[in-house]
């Protein structure tokens, strides 16, 4: 905005006033939206630091002091043993992550490099992506039957295998797209030096694909950690439940003990939220990359 230096104009003209008024209004609006988005989290946080007695008398007061009792009971009380559910979720998530990475990097390489193209490769790729259209309901009844038949119900394997299957299309697609964009020279050079395809993959191309691998890890970590449908269907033994499934049980049983329930909710949210605070840009880009490229 250029300022006019004609002395007879008033110092603040109408347009400038309207502009800053609009700025303020917009900021107020956006901050209120932010508040609306965040209020549930804040309320949970506040409740988790109080005792149930305090909550019952005054549901919306602020905690008088930071009371960590709920959390220590949550984690250290052997009867509740929240750590068990964290453990289950971690094992399942890590297992599925590793399996997904192994399959999708190999597959992405095979689908992405022109060297491995053949007549039906496009068809196979389309077949793989077809699963993106499928609602999970169409698969999980037979998946349940399969798990029962092979005695895998209530084991980690049930979830590890099925979680991997659910995320293979997206992960393979991301890896394939990335591998496709890598130049051929390094591959050629390594092969001229006598390296086998597998060695080329392992020692040359895969290290180059770090950004895509990071994205795949982030996306899948989120999906596996928060998954509910399969977790509830395939695992019914309380001890073996993952966090989301355990939360349903837990809050149901403790619905009168609001303080404990609140702290369990906060505790369950914590890993992802902490990760997010440090990696927010990567998260957002990774989760939207697939959508925009499609």
């Amino acid at each position: 905005m250029t300022t006019k230096s004609i002395p007879m104009k008033p110092a603040i003209d109408g347009r400038m006033v309207r502009h800053s008024v609009r700025q303020v209004l917009v900021t107020v609006l956006l901050m209120s939206v932010t508040l609306l988005i965040i209020i549930p989290f804040l309320w949970m946080l506040a409740m988790s630091f109080r005792t149930t007695g305090e909550i019952l008398t005054d549901p919306y007061g602020l905690p008088t002091r930071l009371n960590f009792d709920n959390y220590s009971k949550l984690f250290f009380d052997p009867e509740i043993g929240f750590y068990r559910y964290f453990g289950n979720s971690s094992i399942v998530t890590l297992g599925a992550l590793m399996l997904t990475l192994a399959l999708s990097t190999l597959g992405g390489y095979g689908f992405g490099r022109s060297r491995y193209d053949f007549r039906f490769r496009g068809w196979l790729f389309a077949l793989l992506l077809f699963a993106l259209m499928l609602p999970p309901q169409i698969m999980y009844i037979p998946q349940f039957q399969m798990m029962t038949k092979y005695g895998l119900l209530n084991t980690y394997w049930a979830l590890i295998l099925l979680y991997t299957a659910s995320q293979l299309p997206v992960s393979t697609y991301l890896m394939a797209t990335y591998f496709q964009s890598l130049p051929e020279e390094l591959e050629e050079a390594a092969r001229i030096d006598g390296a086998s395809d597998l060695r080329v993959f392992r020692q040359v191309m895969l290290p180059l694909a770090r950004p895509a691998v990071a994205t795949v890890i982030l996306i899948n970590f989120l999906q596996f950690w928060n998954e509910l449908l399969l977790a509830v269907t395939m695992v019914t033994k309380p001890d073996m439940r993952t966090l989301p499934a355990a939360m349903m049980l837990f809050v149901g049983e403790n619905s009168a003990d609001y303080a404990m329930a609140a702290s369990s909710l906060v505790a369950a949210m914590l890993p992802i939220l902490l990760l997010y605070i440090f990696l927010s840009d990567k998260f957002i880009e990774g989760l939207t990359a697939g959508a925009l490229k499609g």
């Binding site: 949970m44 698969m139 998946q143």
Partner: protein
């Protein structure tokens, strides 16, 4: 496919020549090595189950004294669908959700993205903050909002009563007409951040020069928005709408925890109903819910196809 027609110094050495000849033969070994694991795993855990569900849908599967008997019933399961009142209710609810939800989401996401786009202070903060609900497990979302909407002491009603709007403090989760609205709102709260970020990303790919040129030509902000930005955003908006629609047709987590499809099926969706039919109710017949799943898949495909047609047609001026 790349053409290797460079005349670089190494092109005519024997090493280079023999490597080019080797490149002509398809490396089937490596191809198998790389593609087989993925495809086999996929076939076993995705393709086979889909096929099995379709197969199941033509049968009635019963467990009598530990023995599972599968009887072929042809299209009976499908024929029973239109008479199933709960199924019809669920379909209605899911459709209402899949049309109202994406509409609200699109308008809000675009509106806010535009506001933020015009270089409001803190815009990176908004992007990060508004995306947060997407990360929280559906269970937590459902549970927290169940408490907020609680009739007696939930945040919403307490707040309404505090400012004197007692008449609005209704039993949100217990009446006939409100649970579905609650589900739609809560799910919107959880997923709006995703659409917002997508639209924002789309906006940021629009070159500033275009906007500048329009301004120089004297266009008002409103004209810039409607004549320049929105048309350029069309692909992103279509993607957002499609994704949102598909997401709501299949959503499970939030509904299940928030209302469980209740009360009395007033907020039942197809996803929750299939879950109940297959795993919760005493009827061990897996054939019927399979038919439901297959039929629903067909309906989703149809919906997406129609939506694509409707949205795509406007593209040709």
């Amino acid at each position: 496919m790349t053409t290797k027609a460079h005349a670089s110094p190494g092109t005519f050495t024997s090493a280079a020549v023999s490597s080019r000849n080797v490149a002509r033969k398809k490396p089937w070994g490596p191809i198998l090595l790389f593609l087989a694991p993925v495809m086999l795993f996929y076939a076993a855990f995705v393709l086979y189950p889909v096929g099995a569900t379709m197969y199941n849908s033509f049968h009635t599967i019963e467990a009598n004294l530990g023995q599972i008997t599968t009887t072929f019933v042809g299209l009976d399961n499908y024929k029973a669908l239109p008479d199933d009142k709960i199924f019809i209710q669920a379909v209605k609810n899911t459709f209402i959700w899949s049309t109202v939800g994406p509409t609200i989401e699109l308008i809000t996401a675009v509106g806010l993205a535009l506001l933020v786009y015009f270089k409001v202070p803190f815009f990176r903060f908004y992007r990060v903050a508004w995306f947060t609900p997407m990360l929280v497990s559906g269970v937590i979302v459902g549970l927290v909002w169940r408490w907020i909407f609680n009739y007696d002491w939930g945040l919403l009603n307490v707040g309404l009563r505090a400012i004197g709007l007692d008449s609005l403090a209704v039993n949100w989760l217990g009446r006939r007409d409100t649970p579905l609205a609650v589900v739609i709102f809560v799910h919107f709260w959880a997923t709006f951040g995703f659409s917002f970020v997508l639209v924002l990303a789309g906006l940021s790919t629009i070159s500033n020069d275009l906007v500048e040129a329009a301004r120089v030509d004297g266009a008002s902000t409103r004209q810039i928005v409607w004549r320049v930005l929105i048309p350029l955003l069309r692909p992103v908006l279509i993607t957002v709408t499609l994704l949102s629609f598909m997401g709501k047709m299949r959503a499970f987590n939030v509904v299940w925890v928030l209302t469980g499809g209740g009360p009395l099926h007033f907020s039942e969706t197809v996803a929750t109903y299939i879950q109940k039919r297959a795993f919760l109710w005493r009827s061990i017949d897996l054939g019927y819910p399979s038919a439901m799943a297959v039929a629903w898949f067909g309906i989703v495909l149809l919906g997406v196809g129609l939506l694509k047609l409707w949205l795509g047609r406007k593209e040709t001026y």
